[in-house]
């Protein structure tokens, strides 16, 4: 049996894993490439909706369950029957789990592409607006188009972790372990990505678009590519969350919880710093979990629903961070791509000094610079005399 403390930790990690993936995906877009995606919920909900659509239907047709029944209307008996079959079959459970994650990633990437393609060549504020609108629209569709995820009823998702109990492992523990493994793999992937030449280019796109263009790089394509990758990752997070909770309900994918909270995590921890994002996500999830854990104790002391206390404090916290410490807890550091761990600029300088030809060029440049300096100082000396005369 699990104690309250075990449950607290289990719940914490189960929330931490998908949010870490979403935070990493926002960090790729906003932290590195400067893309303000205010519709992260688009990809997350897209992935989660796929978890509601794909595995249930595939399993129902391959296992021959629920023939002649409407998948949405008689969703509960169909899924219960499916779970009964796959709970004794670990391999087919994991198969359907992985297939769904892949499909979710593809759908997420396509959603990201669909929004990014028309807007990527424009200024970043247009991207923010369009993503926000698209994120809102997918929830409208999820709410009203019931064949997708059951509309206001929601749908159940086949549970790919239930076979664990036949091996004597708790289902939730297995689910959390798998989710954490996937989250760590995605984190390492994003880290490799941003510590490569591509990572440097992303920062350049963020900091100075024109100089990137001058070097012959395609800014628009870079932006679209990073949005596609980040959306695919966010969709995986959505599907994982749906598998863990074993159901999909459109309202649990609100703008606040899957766009705004991950943004707070990234900015709190430090945009464009991988460990900062991990720290930010963990602190955020832990604090929120503690608040929810004690909110029933808090309820008699405040004259309103404690749910609002959450968003009130988080909104204010983000505003204060943005004013007083916009770089976050752990600020961005230059990427060390050279093996001995020095930033590239420093290495280039030393190389220039050590090489005989390069050294001469360096001296020449320095003497030129000092001559220019003299010119300017002379000019300044002249100015007051002119005025006096």
């Amino acid at each position: 049996m699990l104690t309250t403390a075990d449950l607290f930790i289990l719940n914490l990690l189960a929330t931490f894993a998908p949010y870490l993936i979403v935070a990493v995906s926002i960090n790729l877009e906003y932290g590195y490439a400067g893309v303000p995606n205010f519709g992260k919920v688009l990809a997350v909900a897209g992935g989660a909706f796929m978890a509601g659509v794909i595995p249930g239907r595939i399993l129902a047709s391959t296992l021959g369950i629920g023939k002649g029944m409407d998948f949405i209307k008689s969703n509960v008996p169909i899924i219960t029957q499916i779970n009964g079959v796959i709970s004794s079959n670990a391999i087919s459970s994991l198969q359907i789990f992985i297939i769904t994650l892949i499909i979710a990633a593809i759908v997420g990437a396509l959603l990201g592409l669909a929004v990014a393609y028309p807007v990527a060549r424009l200024r970043s504020d247009y991207l923010g607006m369009t993503f926000l609108a698209a994120g809102q629209v997918i929830l409208v569709i999820g709410n009203n188009y019931s064949p997708l995820v059951g509309g206001t009823q929601g749908v159940n998702v086949p549970d790919p972790f239930q076979w664990a109990s036949s091996f004597g492992i708790n289902r939730d523990i297995l689910a959390v372990i798998i989710m954490m493994i996937i989250a760590v793999v995605i984190f390492l992937y994003a880290r490799r990505l941003t510590h490569s030449p591509l990572g440097r280019m992303l920062r350049a796109v963020r900091d100075d678009e024109n100089s990137v263009l001058a070097l012959g790089k395609d800014v628009q394509k870079t932006r679209i590519n990073i949005i596609i990758i980040a959306s695919a990752l966010a969709a995986i997070a959505g599907a994982l969350y749906a598998f863990y909770t074993a159901n999909v309900f459109y309202a649990s994918f609100s703008r606040a919880s899957w766009t705004f909270w991950p943004w707070v995590m990234v900015i709190l921890g430090g945009a464009a710093n991988d460990w900062g994002v991990v720290a930010g996500t963990f602190i955020f999830v832990a604090v929120r979990q503690t608040i929810t854990f004690f909110s029933s104790d808090l309820a008699p002391f405040i004259p309103f629903n404690p749910v609002w206390l959450d968003t009130l404090l988080l909104g204010l916290a983000l505003l204060l961070i943005l004013i007083y410490r916009p770089e976050g807890l752990i600020p961005e550091k230059p990427i060390k791509t050279i093996k001995d761990g020095r930033p590239p600029g420093e290495v280039a300088e030393e190389d220039a000094k050590s090489e005989p030809g390069g050294g001469k060029a360096m001296d020449k440049a320095q003497s030129l610079a000092s001559r220019l300096k003299d010119l300017f100082t002379e000019k300044k000396k002249d100015e007051p005399t002119k005025e006096s005369s």
Binding site: T130, Q136, N305, W308, L312, G315, L318, I323, P326
Partner: protein, 309 residues
């Protein structure tokens, strides 16, 4: 009877959207930041309307004046407390945008708490309410159908007079054109920024206070329902122009209401909830074809191109 509804719905929706979009463009032009909390200014107006009608028992249209001032106050507070300190610390546009999103969430939480307080303390309907029955009727048509266009005309004429006939308006236009230059000739640009936020929040609050006469009111109406349409209207009209904002608001309002109402008539009422897809499509199409909006199209250049072809 249905045809009358389509026309009145179009009139009200486009008027409200034009009002809401003017403010967004105004703050965008002066402070150069798209305000993601702008829709929630309308929600603030909605709750001012609730206080005026349900708590105080006054006429709905008396809510217009406090709606204006409370909306203006909230907008100025947003600028002075959060955005100005950030711009002084050299925050870039993206950071400012994030701050407006954060302020939006913060403001929605305050509205929700206020709604809880209203329903607990005064036992009024503070969620999913409407004032349909409180509106007056003229020739069998709801009063808002007449009042909303009058408000648009009033605001447009007022803004025109302010921007073209007063010294402060000229200072405002100068600041929009070139802030450093305006500063060097002695214009208090900071005052201009505050004034633009005051007007933006005020006009949005004004429009918000009458929204429950036509739509179901709730704390998230401004941010979930209107914000997409406001952005779409601003983009379609052209974000760098107040005329564009009015034009865009009218176009998006018209498209949104007429297309959905006609489709609902022929396909079925199930299509109505999908309304937010229309502004999204309008926005994407505009960004693909004419990213600067209708007022940003270079018409003489276009003519030359067509002639050459």
């Amino acid at each position: 009877m249905v045809d009358v509804y389509i026309i009145t719905d179009a009139v009200v929706t486009s008027s409200l959207l034009a009002l809401l979009t003017i403010g967004l463009s105004l703050t965008y032009l002066t402070t150069r930041v798209p305000n993601f909390a702008h829709g929630t200014f309308a929600s603030v107006g909605i709750y001012v309307g609730v206080v005026v009608t349900e708590v105080m028992g006054l006429n709905v249209y008396l809510g217009l004046i406090p709606g204006f001032f409370v909306g203006a106050l909230v907008a100025v507070a947003q600028y002075l407390l959060f955005l100005r300190p950030m711009t002084r610390r050299n925050a870039n546009v993206t950071t400012l945008m994030v701050a407006t999103v954060a302020f939006d969430i913060f403001l929605i939480a305050i509205l929700n708490i206020f709604a809880d307080y209203l329903s607990n303390a005064f036992h009024v309907e503070a969620r999913y309410f409407q004032f349909f029955s409180l509106d007056f009727t003229l020739f069998g048509i709801k009063g808002l159908v007449f009042v909303a266009p009058i408000l648009v005309v009033g605001v447009v004429v007022g803004l025109y007079l302010l921007l073209n006939r007063t010294k402060f308006g000229i200072a405002m236009r100068a600041t929009i054109e070139n802030p450093p230059l305006a500063g060097t000739i002695g214009i208090n640009t900071d005052m201009v920024y505050i004034a633009s936020w005051f007007l933006a929040g005020g006009i949005a609050g004004l429009a918000g206070s009458v929204i429950p006469l036509w739509y179901i009111g709730n704390t998230n109406v401004g941010s979930d329902f209107f914000l997409i349409s406001i952005f779409a209207a601003a983009v379609v009209g052209g974000v760098y122009s107040i005329n564009g904002a009015i034009l865009g608001g009218l176009i998006i309002g018209l498209a949104q209401s007429v297309i959905i109402d006609v489709l609902a008539l022929y396909i079925g009422a199930w299509i109505i909830p999908y309304q937010p897809i229309i502004p999204l499509i309008a926005m994407i199409v505009t960004l693909l074809l004419a990213p600067n909006g209708i007022t940003g199209i270079n018409y003489s250049g276009l003519k030359k191109k067509l002639r050459r072809n």
